[in-house]
Amino acid sequence: MPIHWKPRFLWTLLVPILSIPRSLASETFEEELTIRALPDGKVASRFSFSTLLEGATPRNPQNLSAEDTSQHYTLFPLALGQILREYAVAEMHLTLNAGKWDYERWGYPDETDVGSGAELWAWMGDGAGATVDERWRGLRNALAGLFCASLGSLDELRTTSPAFSFAPHGGVPDAPLPLAIRHASMPSEHVCTENLTSFLKLLPCKSLSGIASLLNPHRLFDADWHGMGLHVAWLPDEGVQVRLTFQSVADPLRASLSKRDWSFASMFDRTIDRTCPSTASSRVIVALPLNEAYSIHPQPSSVEQGHAIFDLEGQNPPLDVSMQWAVDFDHAAVRPRSAEAPLSVRRTLQGSSQDLGRLSVFITNDGTADIQAAYLETMPWIVQFYLHTMTLRVDGVTRDDLIQNISYIPPIPHARAMTFQAVLALPARSTVHLSIDVRKAFLRYTEHPPDAQRGWDLPPAVLVPLGIGSGVERHGRRIYTPTLLVDLATPDFSMPYNVIIFSCTLVAYIFASVFNLLTRRFVVLHAELN
């Protein structure tokens, strides 16, 4: 009897699993690699892997206490899906970048979020049983585990809510609850191989085939600039889209001073040997030079608007796209500033004192038109602004009328970060100099990091040009300034006991002396003369 019992039991187990109705919508996976030569001879490449869960909507946070519907995906990364459902995240963006994106020489990046270090922002429905802050904490920690990054340090001290500069990309679900944003950035995060490994695990073909096979950590982390991103958004009428991106700026001129020729083999040390079977579309797009002689190999599938498009389906593997220029690169011809990005920002923290400093921001508008721009500063509480010292100058002339709509959330020591946002009017062909005095805080000795003398990295400021876009993008793209390093005064870490002992001794000594005098009486004694 027992021999027959076991297989029958297994069969009864299997029946309900197989008979689950596939009520979930279909999923499509698309991958794309965009390569373009930058004006200064470097080559920017952008990998984009997007998975669309058709017909899905973000979870309603009001149903968080109820049991969630079971999740079955074929292409959509389950580990990520679970996190998104668990914390009812409507939209989420995580970027891990290394290096400083040089807007002046490279223009705008293909992916907007290029702030140095780790940056995470999420829109979540507000007002449910579990508060936004609780879910934000959970999201942070879950992503920290998923990406092997220290995102857990994006705590309350670094969290702000800059709703204007970080508007949702996708649609806002018709949920009964309003959405709230949480944003935090951690400029000192180092991006490395372990982050890429966990990034690749979210792809259906990992790095075994398709465009993802070019993601070779040895080459990518050797690039002048590199960054990876995870973007989740809800697209109305389509579904939930997860987009994994990887951007890098390689420098072919590093190997040879005059040849800026590149190929997959030279940039990634790999070629595409086979296609990923799960993709709906898999394309390599190369921006073609406008007024220069070049040759591109192999023959592109099609050419549209100055872009060569290689459809991986139609190409014979192994695919190794390469590009050669007829003439050598002329370093002298590099223009210092790209016309595409008329705004450039320089931000410094001045003053050698560990007590007071001055934040000085130079914003140059090279265009011929005046530009309105939203300027956002988010600072951990260790740097406190003295807003009454804020001045705006254009060519040495004070122009306080250029700043408007200041919104300011002051920092709370040991608890809350500061948010400063204002709309700046940037006159054409001029440089606006904004300066604010800042006070550097004194921390408890337990609040200092182990390498306290290194200083604290401050998040980048964000500048959003207003009203220059068209259509859906009403505003221009975000411009991130470089990060800053602030040098805080440190106590002596070796002697907490000594300080406690010294101070207590002093207090006790004075206390005892006073009480000794107050409690004992004076008496006159006859002196014995020996």
């Binding site: 050698s352 004192s353 560990q354 007590d355 007071l356 509480w381 406190q384 003295y386 807003l387 009454h388 200041i406 300011y408 959330i409 002051p410 920092p411 709370i412 020591p413 040991h414 500061m418 006070r439 805080a441 004194f442 921390l443 408890r444 000795y445 337990t446 005064a489 440190t490 106590p491 002596d492 002697m495 907490p496 300080v499 406690i500 010294f502 101070s503 002093l506 207090v507 000594y509 004075i510 206390f511 002396s513 006073v514 009480f515 000794n516 005098l517 107050l518 409690t519 004992r520 009486r521 004076f522 008496v523 006159v524 004694l525 006859h526 002196a527 003369l529």
Partner: protein, 408 residues
């Protein structure tokens, strides 16, 4: 010499000199100085609070502004905020303080005028601890003046003004609640020096409770006014609460800041409680021991505050030191005035130097400045214990030959 000490001449000359000094650009240099202004009294923070208040942002929603809402009310309506105007206001406030000290001395001596008046005015107006703080536009100048006015009115028996000044002082600084007990005792008795002839409390003990009630009424009214000005109760944890929880660890001349910088997190609440209670512990014994001379009790408690207050500035011990001038009867009984003076000199010279080495030059570390604040606390403690000793020892007088005076 007599002419030099004549208050009618000395006082205007000194005030004029101070005004001239105030109009120089010294305040621009000194206003950042951590020894002259603490986070609770700093002019920069006051200006920031006024700016936020004027621009419709609640200054108490953050952690920068920690002064009383009464300052907001005054500086956004009556008083100007430009630095020159402020320098003049602060100096005039010091002049009132000096005048109050002279009047206090006259009330104690029960005479209309003495030859020491000019000297006492000079002791207040020329005390570097006090006038540098005033030049740095630290609001502790207002605290000192209010403390002196409260004592002066109490010495003259003017109950309501005295209690009002004490209530205002409490709005500016929570720790000054220590002065309430001697002020009320002073109102119930007399300011005349009784140090040499101790006796039980002779005043009218029945007056104490109504006086206390009156003080509570003033405090309640002012608290409600502050709440009205700042439209909310958030100012209480930001101003009074800061004296109890020490959220801002900016270095100052006191003993709290480095102790709580280096304190282990799980012991922090315990030691905050110990340090806060430690201040209050002095009130009863000092008032009981000096029940025959409440003005002296107030003086001793000012010494305690100058040494152990949570956010002291140079002006706090400065007030104690200047007040020694109105108790000349204790001078012969001071045991080690020279040692105390040298300690003060040592600390006053080393503190700015070590502060600069630590924070600006980068060649010293926090221990340098901490050590000099310890010396400063020793100096203040030495002055305090010496004054308590002398105030008690005076009752015995000089012993005859063959006799010695000892403590039981």
């Amino acid at each position: 010499m007599k002419l030099l000490l004549d208050v009618g001449l000395v006082f205007p000359v000194l005030v004029a000199g101070r005004l001239l000094l105030a109009l120089t650009n010294l305040s621009g240099v000194l206003k950042h100085n951590h020894q002259l202004s603490s986070p609770l009294t700093s002019y920069l923070n006051l200006q920031e609070g006024i700016y936020l208040f004027k621009n419709g942002i609640d200054p108490y929603s953050g952690g920068v502004f920690r002064q009383s809402p009464l300052f907001l009310a005054l500086f956004t309506t009556v008083l100007p905020t430009s630095r020159t105007a402020c320098s003049i206001i602060w100096t005039l406030c010091d002049a009132i303080g000096a005048w109050a000290l002279v009047q206090l001395w006259r009330a104690r001596q029960r005479v209309a005028q003495t030859s020491r008046d000019g000297l006492i005015a000079a002791a207040y107006l020329l005390n570097p601890y006090l006038f540098l703080s005033t030049l740095a536009l630290s609001t502790s100048s207002f605290e000192n003046t209010l403390a002196l006015l409260s004592l002066l009115f109490a010495a003259r028996g003017l109950a309501s003004p005295s209690l009002l000044a004490a209530a205002l002082l409490l709005q500016l600084s929570l720790s000054s609640v220590l002065l309430l007990a001697p002020s009320i005792l002073l109102l119930a008795s007399s300011p005349v020096s009784q140090l040499a002839s101790p006796r039980p409390f002779v005043g009218n003990g029945k007056k104490i409770l109504p006086l206390l009630a009156e003080f509570l009424v003033y405090t309640t009214v002012l608290t409600l006014a502050s709440t009205l000005v700042s439209s909310g109760w958030a100012w209480i944890p930001q101003t009074w609460g800061a004296s109890l929880t020490l959220p801002d660890l900016t270095p100052n001349v006191g003993v709290w800041w480095y102790f709580f910088t280096e304190m282990f997190d799980h012991f922090r609440p315990f030691f905050l409680m110990v340090f806060s209670i430690h201040l209050v512990i002095y009130v009863a014994p000092v008032c009981i021991k000096f029940q025959y001379d409440p003005l002296y009790a107030a003086f001793v408690l000012l010494g305690v505050l100058g040494t152990f207050k949570p956010y002291p500035t140079m002006a706090d011990p400065g007030l104690f030191l200047s007040m020694i001038a109105i108790f000349p009867e204790i001078y012969p009984y001071l045991r080690y005035p020279i040692v105390t003076t040298l300690l003060h000199l040592h600390a006053a010279l080393l503190m700015p130097l070590f502060h600069h080495l630590w924070l600006n030059q980068g060649t010293g570390n926090a221990n340098f400045f901490y050590a000099s604040t310890l010396v400063f606390a020793c100096a203040n403690g030495a002055a305090l214990t010496d004054c308590v000793w002398a105030g008690l020892r005076i009752a015995i007088g000089e012993p005859q030959d063959g006799y010695v005076v000892v403590q039981e």
